[in-house]
Symmetry: C2
Subunit: 287 residues, 2 copies
Amino acid sequence: VHGPEGAARGRGRQAPLGVFDSGLGGLTVVRALRAACPREDIVYLGDSARVPYGTRSAETVLRYARASARALAARGVKALVVACNTVSAVALDALRAELDLPVSGVILPGARAATEVAGGAAIGVLATAGTIASGAYRRAVASLATRSEILGQAAPLLVALAEEGWLEGEVPTLVVRRYLEAFFEIRAGARVPRVGCVVLGCTHFPLFHALVEQELATLAARPIPVVDSARQTASEVRAFLEERGLANDAPERGSLRVLVTDRPQSFEAVAQRFLGEPLGEVEQVDL
Amino acid sequence: VHGPEGAARGRGRQAPLGVFDSGLGGLTVVRALRAACPREDIVYLGDSARVPYGTRSAETVLRYARASARALAARGVKALVVACNTVSAVALDALRAELDLPVSGVILPGARAATEVAGGAAIGVLATAGTIASGAYRRAVASLATRSEILGQAAPLLVALAEEGWLEGEVPTLVVRRYLEAFFEIRAGARVPRVGCVVLGCTHFPLFHALVEQELATLAARPIPVVDSARQTASEVRAFLEERGLANDAPERGSLRVLVTDRPQSFEAVAQRFLGEPLGEVEQVDL
C-alpha cells in the first residue's frame, strides 16, 4: 500500500475501504479482507459489463480502472484495493499518481510473501495467460531486490471451473494436477520440484487453495507452501490501516456494499461463491 | 441465407465470402465452409479485441456486428456468414435490413437440421450460457413451424478446453459426459434420453464432435445424432450459392484471408486449432 497520509486520514477511520475488479473474482479479496479486518466497511465495484480486462490494451485498462477508482473515491473511501491482476500489472502507478488515496494492488503482496517462503528457490505462479505474459510477477520480485526466478503457468481452466462452480471432484483435481506438473521435472527417474512455493496469482484461484495444496503434496516428496495473494493483500492492508491509525474501531462487523456495472448470467450464484457469504444488497451503476 | 439477389450477383461469383465472429471460434465455420465449398475465397474477420460479445448488451452487439459487416462489405464480399451465435441471436434481422447482401447466421441451420433428425423428440442444445439464455434456439425452432421442445445446457468449460487445446483425454471426456447427463433422466432405474438429438450450438464445439458422439453412445442405449451447426451452416451456404448462380467456379482451391482486431496470447495456435489448417497471412485491422 502506497499513498498520501493526510488525505486518507482526512477521510477518517470510519470511512469504507474501496475494492474494485473487472468482474466478480475480486470478491475473493473482499472475503479475505472481511476475515482480516472484520470491522471495516467495504464498497466493492465489479466492472462486470466490461470483463475481462486481460485481453484489452494497457491504455484501455487504465481508462477503465480510472473510472472505477473515481467512482469509489466519490463514495468517500479511505483507501483503494485494486483486486484485479490486470489493473495491478499495468495501472497501479498511474492511479497512485492521480488519486489522493492510498492504493494497494494484489501482485506485490503475493510476490513479497513468495520470496519469503521460497527460500531462494524459484517461485511458481498460477495465473491467467495475460498475467503471466505481462511479466508483472517478475517485475514485482525484482522490485523486492531478490533474485528469485519466476516459473509462470497459465491456468485458464481454473477460471472457467471457478465460474462454473466445479470446485472439487475428479475434473478440478485432474486440471489442478496437470497445471502443477509444470512446476516439476523428472530427474534420475524421480519427480523433483522446480519451485520453492506456488502463488495463487489470480483472484479466482483461492477457491482451489486446498486442492492445490493437496495435489502439491501428492506430487512432491516435501511440502511446498502455497501463497494466496488475496490473503496476503488483506494482511498488508490491515497492517497499513493499523500503522496509519486508519483502522475502523467500530464494535460491530463492517458492512459490505456491492456495485456492479452489469448483472450477467447467474451473477448472484457466482458472486456468492467467491465471497463465501450471502451477497446482500447489490446496486447497478454506470461508469 | 436471406438477401437481395441482384446486389450479390452484381458482385459476381468470383467475389469472396465474408465470415465474421467476435473472436477466433468462427474459424470452425470457415473450416466447414472450406470443406463444403472448397473453391470459394474467404475473408474472415475476428473481432478479437472485443471478444466476448456474449456478456454485452444487444445494442452493443449490434453496433460491433455492424462494424464488422461493413468492413467485409467494403472488401467486396458476395455474401456474409455471421459465424457468431451472439450476433446471430440478436442482430441478424438488422444486418439484413441494412446491408445490400445475403446474410446467413449459425443458429437457424443447426435448428433446421435438428428438427429433421430429432423425430419429434426434444432437441438438446450445448452452447454458452448467453446463447441458452437468449432463447435463440427456441425462437429458431418455432420459426420453422415445429413444436420441438429445446433442452439447453450451458457448457462454458468446453469453451475453455477448446481454447486451451485440451481436446481429448480424461478431462474433456469427463466434462463432456457431465454436461450430456443433463439430457438424460433416470426412469425405473434406467438412464433414458430426454432428447432426440444434440446440437453443438457454439462455434468452439465442433472440436468436440467425436467426443460428444462417443459419450452419447456410452450414455444412451440407442444412437442419438449430433448436429454440428458449423457444418449445417456451410451446407446451407453452399446450396444458396449454387441456387443463385453465385458459386465460384475457379478451378483451384479458394484462398483464405484472416483479419483480426487484436492478436491476443497464443493467437496463432488457437486459431489454427479451430481452422484445422495453417493460418496463412493474418492482417490486423481497426474497426
